[in-house]
Subunit: 339 residues, 2 copies
DNA sequence: CTGTTAGCGCTTTCAC
DNA sequence: GTGAAAGCGCTAACAG
């Protein structure tokens, strides 16, 4: 392996000088600089990041910890983080808690051992678990939380503000006469604060709440949806709490012998190209996780660089997109089957 | 920061001994071991991976380099690699070449500087570019290529064997009378060897080739598909060369005022839950990239651990799933519109 | 401007 | 079994 000493020898300078040109220190004579650069070139020298890390106690790596990497939004987040990180010379270490708070803590612990410079977390379970894990030890690990609903008191947060979009969606349903709504969610993504916000919105629109079903595996949503729709008192609208559930809910609607939006309206959280490919296309409540996580990573990196003017939180609003999967409740249409 | 010296002091032993218990060296007296462990516990000591790395010249990190992280299969691969790595105490650094061979080389260079222990690459452009970049310098970086069609001569390869599935799909189409096929692919995923294999299969089935269109952006597939289908001599079957294209092709079919499978058959490369949610569901040619990349990562890790009995390549076959998006060519159905 | 030097925290001989 | 000591390759502080 070719080290900084080899370069120094070849360039007839000291290692200190080589280090200086490597780190773009201003006080290096242009001639010296050129000689060193040439030696580096000739030797094909690559600085050893490990040694550099040890010395500077930085790794230029940020951790990206997911509650569940199987969520369709995850890939957009990975891309966003990778893009922001890459642009600043950082690397992104991706880990997956698989919906398990214990795994989440274990991953945080590992990332601390690896001395990741910072961390972005999509939390699973109570946030305190994350807070404890990142602040464990002497120096807490700089962390940006991906926030559900509200910023966190201790940790900088990239908040996904779903409130207005949810209100709008519920209002839309209410205006079309819907009173009985069912929400299907997955075990790996149960967001309590969203649940509360949701219930509040429902009440405000004159509904007394929604049936909520949590499925273990996404495909279980087929059966769950079918049963819901074929029950004695079926909901008139179904909401998929996570984008991964949407294709299964759609199959469930079909399995019940129904169609949206005529027999039941359908709204999904999350967005994908597929939502537009259906006929009619799907109404969704979604935030752009690519941008969101890119901004979260950018914020983290500003923090890491000691940028005092960095904001404490960033926020993006979810948007409710009206397409074709929501319609009036069947009862209100009476007979005559329009459309 | 609490270091190994602090632990040694507290446990009244030397740093060497602490290091030994840390590394589960067999020759440590159980009593000593316990005392050290206790000191570690009390001090909340976490070994510093950077120092360890420098000393052992291993980082326990593998790089995962994508040709295009926006491909829907990417997330499955990330999960597979993360799972295999995590299970063996490795971390996964994810990078994205965004369809650009130069970026690919740049990322490989960066990963070498970071001293990633190994690398998994979904190559973009000529493989030689990857081979050069990983073998640059004194010690080549252990690398597993994700293979398109065939294993590589120099690098261990995780081969996606698409041959039989493609043959079967083409045969299926041929048996239903299809003679004019169009393939829509994306700029960021153009696989030359697949193209050749494809043409060979077509010829074998008595077709003289397929129209092939490369789109710049996925959504361009809408227009392209519509134009194809409304031309004077439209293809009777459309193939989406990448799963990300499928929803757009579907929209294109609709934009042309047509329906699959009646007016044109449709097959997509790649798989997703959405393919099952359509009515009728989509025929696909796909390999399980979760398993595939998990196995690729496992192979890499075996290599890194010096496992001589590790196979040189691994391989998974693509599968052609017949669902409902392929039917007889319109002309053969004459009038009478069955179904 | 440049050379010299002292470690960063850990693993790993080499003695005892 | 355990301790002492020599660095891994680099950065930064201090002289000059």
């Amino acid at each position: 392996m070719v080290t900084i000493r080899d370069v120094a020898k070849r360039a007839q300078v000291s290692v200190g000088t080589v280090s200086r040109v490597l780190n773009e220190h201003p006080k290096v004579r242009p001639v010296t600089r050129r000689v060193v650069l040439q030696a580096i070139e000739e030797l094909g020298y690559r600085p050893n990041a490990m040694a550099r890390n040890l010395r500077s106690s930085r790794t230029d790596v940020i951790g990206l910890l997911f509650h569940d990497l199987a969520q369709p939004m995850a890939i957009r987040s990975v891309r966003g983080a990778e893009e922001a990180a890459s642009a600043s010379g950082y690397g992104v270490l991706v880990t997956d808690a698989q919906g398990d708070a214990d795994k989440q803590e274990e991953h945080i612990r590992r990332l601390r051992e690896r001395r990741a410079d910072g961390l972005i977390v999509f939390p699973v379970g109570p946030r305190t678990s994350v807070v404890n894990a990142v602040s464990e030890g002497d120096a807490p690990m700089p962390t940006v939380l991906i926030g559900q609903t509200a910023p966190h008191a201790f940790l900088p947060t990239a908040v996904v503000d779903e409130g207005p979009a949810v209100e709008e969606a519920i209002g839309h349903l209410a205006s079309l006469g819907h009173r009985r709504i069912a929400v299907v969610t997955s075990r790996t993504y149960t967001n309590q604060s969203r649940g509360r916000m949701f219930q509040a919105a429902l009440r405000r629109c004159g509904m007394d709440g929604a049936t909520s079903v949590v499925v273990e595996e996404w495909q279980d949503a087929v059966e769950v949806t079918r049963d819901l729709l074929t029950s004695d008192d079926p909901p008139t609208a179904i909401i998929a709490g996570t984008h991964g559930l949407a294709p299964w809910v759609i199959q469930g609607i079909r399995a019940a012998g129904k169609r949206y939006p005529d027999d039941a309206s359908f709204v999904a959280f999350g967005e994908s190209d597929w939502a537009l490919a259906f006929d009619p296309p799907l109404n969704v409540i979604a935030v752009d996780f690519y941008t969101h996580t890119r901004d979260a990573a950018a914020l983290l990196i500003r923090m890491l660089k000691g940028d005092e003017s960095a904001p404490r939180n960033v926020s993006h609003q979810s948007v409710y997109s009206r397409r074709g999967s929501v319609g009036p409740v069947p009862a209100l249409k009476h007979s005559g089957e329009q459309r």
